[in-house]
Amino acid sequence: MPRFSLHRPYLPTRRRDDTPEAGSGPGAPGGTGGTGAPGGPGAPGGSTGSGRAIVRRRLANREQRLLATRAVRDTIVSLAGLVGRPVRNQGGAEIGRLDDVVCRWSDGQTYPPVTGLVVRIGRREAFVDASAIDRIEHSQVLLRSSRLDLRDFEPREGEVTLAHQVLDHQLVDVDGVQVIRAADLYLAPVLGGIRLVGVDVSAQSLLRRLGPARWRLRPTPERVIDWGSIQPFDETGPGHEPEMRFRTTNARLERLRPGELADLLEDLMRPERQKLLDSLTPDEAADALEEMDPEELASLLREAEPGQAAVLLAAMEPDEAVDALRDLGADDRSDVLGAMDRVKATELVRLLGYPEDQAGGFMTTAFVTASVFETVGGLTQRLRLEEDVPDELDAIALVDGEGQLVWDLPLLRLLVSAPDTRLDELVEAEEPVTVGSGAEVAEVADRLIEARRLSVLVVEDGRPVGRILADDVLDALTPARGRLHFPRLLQ
């Protein structure tokens, strides 16, 4: 699925959808001086005029686009083509060959600025600061002065070398929600400096790099993703402070839904996956983990430190956490539980005691109980102070003085009642719909249908111990989903 989302001012918008078929010559009127890249042509307007006019307009548009593309090609520089090219001083003498381009992306700028070059001079790798660069062309780099202060290259905090650490490595495209591998990187002089502006993911660029060296010079901005939608990975070693990174880069990740994050986590390789996890808060990460494929999740938890795995599991919904724990081997499970907060671990161990296919095995214990002696106002006040009320909660279990369930109170009822109403006034005559913790899935489904609710309470000896949400029943009823995975290929 090609993407042409160059929706930044200096690059034209280009979509394959409205590109006319090949074979149309440049005979269209108005050769529009396509000097600058700005102002990507919009799609042709409404259906005014005859078909011929539309064709003419589309041709004009195409012409404009081609010119714009050419202008873009002249402006942006392909990193893959630049590496290995001569670096010349002011006098035009070659001082060495370009080995790599250094970028800094730790300070939260959309387009990371180039901070210097690594130049191979003889057998030395010297660092040339960006201030010494005059111009970066397609096939050479020109420096400002003839005298240079060369020092050996030492990567600094927050800096990456583009050719070695980013090109050909995995990146996350946040807008397209996909994991990509950079086929080429594009540099451009924008915003008062040379910056990394885009990443190329086209097969065409791969072929271009495979071919003769001169092919590499011409950028082929066909499937370019704007760097603004890329979540890069810091390549510095494990000793690096993860907090630093997450402050600066999290804004892009926040656009993602948990399910999308889960997809990305599944597609990334271990080191990148670990970095993505590090840049999320435990709660954000837990939401994503709940959406992951069970097998991938088990693999992720196994390779994480037990301490980290424990924090993640503790932040997940109890029923999801228990499922994940079941998928881990006995050794890993006890490691993780040992590293977990005592109270949370005890709760999870208790849940693990229920067989997986019975109500106790797939209920969640994140539910709210209230005494019938409380008032509506008191309860809402209490919920307000509660740190972590589950969003999907649709009812509250009302219990009497002995902790026995008397009624399952829908949230809406709570909302529309006067604050001073006592909860026992809201209890209705009929029995609340419940299931025992040993109930099979089919029975739970029957009771749900009967109750016409989105959830049903699980009781033991008349006391509420958990709640089963409709989606858990759906999950339990469709165990074959994972197994019948391949047919999706043909849909």
Partner: protein
């Protein structure tokens, strides 16, 4: 470990691994190519290839250990590692090498299916196209995993080789001396068999498989010490089975010349199974071949998608994953198609192993360089021992392959070495 029911097809490495490491290892040596090559080597040279197998085993253990270590410490598959660590041109070269080797393997598997059916009197022009369509459909419709279990059970027939070996009353003194006393035969035929033995033992496919399996099981640097035991013992076990096959065949057929049919190879099982030997051999051959005929193209496509950088497409629909499914389909079509060309099926199997043996040194160089790299593995990079053994393996494997290629090319212009 999750139950088989919750496993997704997308990751098929752990899926096979769930069948038990020992079984997998035994099966690795027991695919159609392996059985045919080992049996043919035993029939042609008797016990003579045994020492060579011991040498290969040392190299194989070393390679498997390096691959498992790379995967455990980087968390990445071999193809992805090569893409990130080498230039794009070298990556393309490596991917091409893996592709050639794996297509050779697919050809082997379909030839195995054809040879198995020929034992039961079914023409390959009927059995191979049907098998190709059936395997393609089974994979696409998602029911392959059930069929696969059947194939796995069928292929267990080859576990009878060690027993057959004892029933065949081999000359144990000869076996012992040929195992430990270094000897090589200087003849083109022996070099050919040697390259075949290398190709079917240190298969490029197994390297991709091992790396993928280690990554997917979530094995990290901490658990690597256990994984090392697994990798090494698996390699040794696999080669033990290979050695049993050579001995069993040598005992019955030793010195009769290279094998040209599955029926001949089946004779090695006669001391055990009598007149059922052919049927037994046919069943095992069919199971092992059909098992691999789907898994090999799938994992090749997976590795290539990984190298190109479209990992995500593996779980997507046909339209969204043209590369992955196109490659899968193409491999089955090419593999089955080549088998339909007239010619001896059994020789085709062995020649495909020779092809693998020629490609193996290329992939080994990549693995050795990666495992030597301190910038990649840090303190887990190859030590002096691994470096030396690795280099020696590459040189041995490389010189065999080079000699074969050079002498073959010189043969075309009339020069014989």
């Amino acid at each position: 470990m999750t139950g088989v029911a919750t496993r997704r097809f997308r990751r098929f490495w752990p899926y096979l691994a769930a069948a038990g490491p020992g079984l997998i290892a035994a099966n690795a040596g027991n695919d159609a190519g392996g059985v045919a090559t080992y049996a043919s080597a035993g029939a042609e040279f008797g016990y003579r290839p045994l020492f060579f197998m011991v040498v290969i085993t040392v190299g194989y253990v070393c390679v498997q250990e390096m691959v498992a270590r790379l995967a455990a410490h980087t968390g990445k598959g071999l193809a992805a590692l090569i893409r990130e660590q080498f230039t794009l041109r070298l990556t393309a070269f490596a991917v091409l090498a893996f592709a050639v080797a794996n297509v050779g393997l697919v050809v082997t598997e379909f030839a195995g299916i054809g040879a198995a059916f020929e034992l039961f009197g079914v023409s390959r022009y009927l059995s191979v196209p049907l098998a190709a369509v059936a395997i393609w459909m089974l994979v696409m419709l998602g029911s392959y995993r059930y069929a696969e279990r059947v194939f796995l059970v069928l292929s267990l027939v080859f576990i009878t080789y060690p027993i057959a070996m004892f029933f065949g009353h081999p000359d144990w003194a000869q076996v012992a001396s040929n195992l430990v006393i270094p000897h090589f035969l200087h003849s083109k035929a022996f070099i050919l068999v040697g390259v075949g033995l290398i190709g079917t033992t240190i298969t490029p496919y197994i390297q991709l498989y091992t790396a993928g399996a280690v990554v997917d099981r979530g094995i990290g640097p901490d658990e690597y010490q256990y994984e090392r035991i697994d990798a090494v013992s698996g390699a040794i076990l696999s080669d033990l089975v290979s050695i049993f096959i050579i001995i069993a065949t040598a005992a019955v057929l030793g010195g009769t010349g290279a094998l040209t049919s599955a029926a001949q190879a089946a004779k090695a099982l006669e001391p055990l199974a009598g007149r059922f030997a052919e049927a037994l051999f046919g069943i095992g051959l069919l199971g092992a071949s059909a098992l691999a005929a789907a898994v090999v193209p799938l994992s090749t496509s997976y590795a290539m998608a990984e190298a190109v950088g479209v990992e995500r497409s593996v779980s997507k629909s046909f339209r969204q994953a043209p590369l992955f499914l196109g490659l899968f389909t193409a491999q089955i079509v090419v593999g089955a198609g080549l088998v339909l060309l007239p010619g001896n099926l059994f020789s085709l199997i062995i020649n495909a192993q020779v092809l693998e043996g020629v490609v193996t040194p290329i992939t080994l160089v990549f693995i050795l360089i990666l495992a030597n790299r301190r910038s990649l593995l840090g303190s887990a990079a190859n030590g002096r021992l691994a470096r030396t053994v690795g280099l020696a393996t590459v040189i041995l494997v490389g010189s065999f392959a080079t000699f074969l290629v050079v002498s073959t090319v010189l043969g075309w212009i009339g020069v014989s070495l």
